[in-house]
Symmetry: C2
Subunit: 182 residues, 2 copies
């Protein structure tokens, strides 16, 4: 049961967004820039970073919904999502993305865990400053979203079909337009 | 030295904001709603929650700047800021704020650490659902801001006068208008 009286029937973060529209707007806008707008990291890569951090933070709603968004972007390569959740070093993804996931995992532990060595390795594999910046900020932002979702004890149904629909909506429309579910 | 080529001479988060204005805007907007706009929790109380979480996350720039903003709001009671940083249970603050700081500390550890007992205690001492919501989100948001500031290894000078000026600017104008320093 949620810790406060959140609107019923809205899963995860959408209940917090409906409770407090004033904070929902900048939180949606930030996710939209980081995950949906044009970027040299493709949307699937950015959703995989969000999914990985949410898995490390053990936030079911976030890793299920962003995993579903990554799945919608990846199409026939959707098996990659589970690989990234469970052991990204063995996943069928480019070395640069693995190096960025290492940085994301360090951010999840705390900002000071990011090491010059891991940044150098990402750069050696082709990451730009902007890609490193966005990786740090996606990981940091999901340390917020995950804590918001679980810190309010939001309702988080385990319904694969619901997350698949949500993932398709997010992959297509991004984060500024509520779907009623996302 | 920062992990990426951030603009020089801008301390802490302001260098990240200058590097990526597209993400700066929603991050500034969120801080403005949470810390500066009208609220039944006064600005000093909300800045103390931000300061406490930033101290727990060991983020010098954030606990110095938001501690300075709290100081600017508190005036002659500014000694409270150090008390909250080091042992808030002994600080000269209302019981309700102590109960909210307990919740903020749980969020800092992870969303699932927030206990029904701590929420009940805050409610018993007069906290509303909106105040509990905003406490959870301030704490969650500073888990983002702190990781952003330290995850980029931003320049964080130790200059009390600079933070005092920044704190006064933030207390007066809030977070949507860059001061060139904040």
């Amino acid at each position: 049961m949620p810790h406060i009286s959140l609107p019923e029937g809205l899963p995860g973060i959408s209940s917090g967004f409906a409770f407090r529209p004033e904070t929902a707007k900048p939180m949606r806008d930030l996710a939209h820039v980081l995950l949906h707008e044009n970027n040299t990291l493709c949307p699937a890569e950015r959703e995989l970073i969000a999914t990985y951090v949410s898995t490390q933070n053990d936030c079911y709603f976030c890793h299920a919904s962003h995993g579903a968004a990554a799945t919608a972007h990846l199409g026939e390569n959707a098996g990659t999502v589970d690989q990234v959740k469970h052991d990204f070093l063995q996943a069928d993804i480019p070395g640069k993305l693995k190096a960025l996931l290492v940085i994301a995992g360090q951010v999840q532990q705390g900002g000071k865990y990011v090491s010059p060595t891991s940044v150098e390795e990402a750069r050696r594999l082709g990451a730009t400053d902007l890609e490193i910046h966005d990786t740090v900020l996606i990981a940091a932002a999901f340390c917020m979203y995950n804590r918001y979702v679980d810190g309010l004890a939001t309702w988080q149904p385990h319904d694969p079909g619901m997350y698949a629909d949500m993932g398709k909506h997010l992959a297509e429309h991004g984060y500024t337009t509520p779907s009623g579910k996302s």
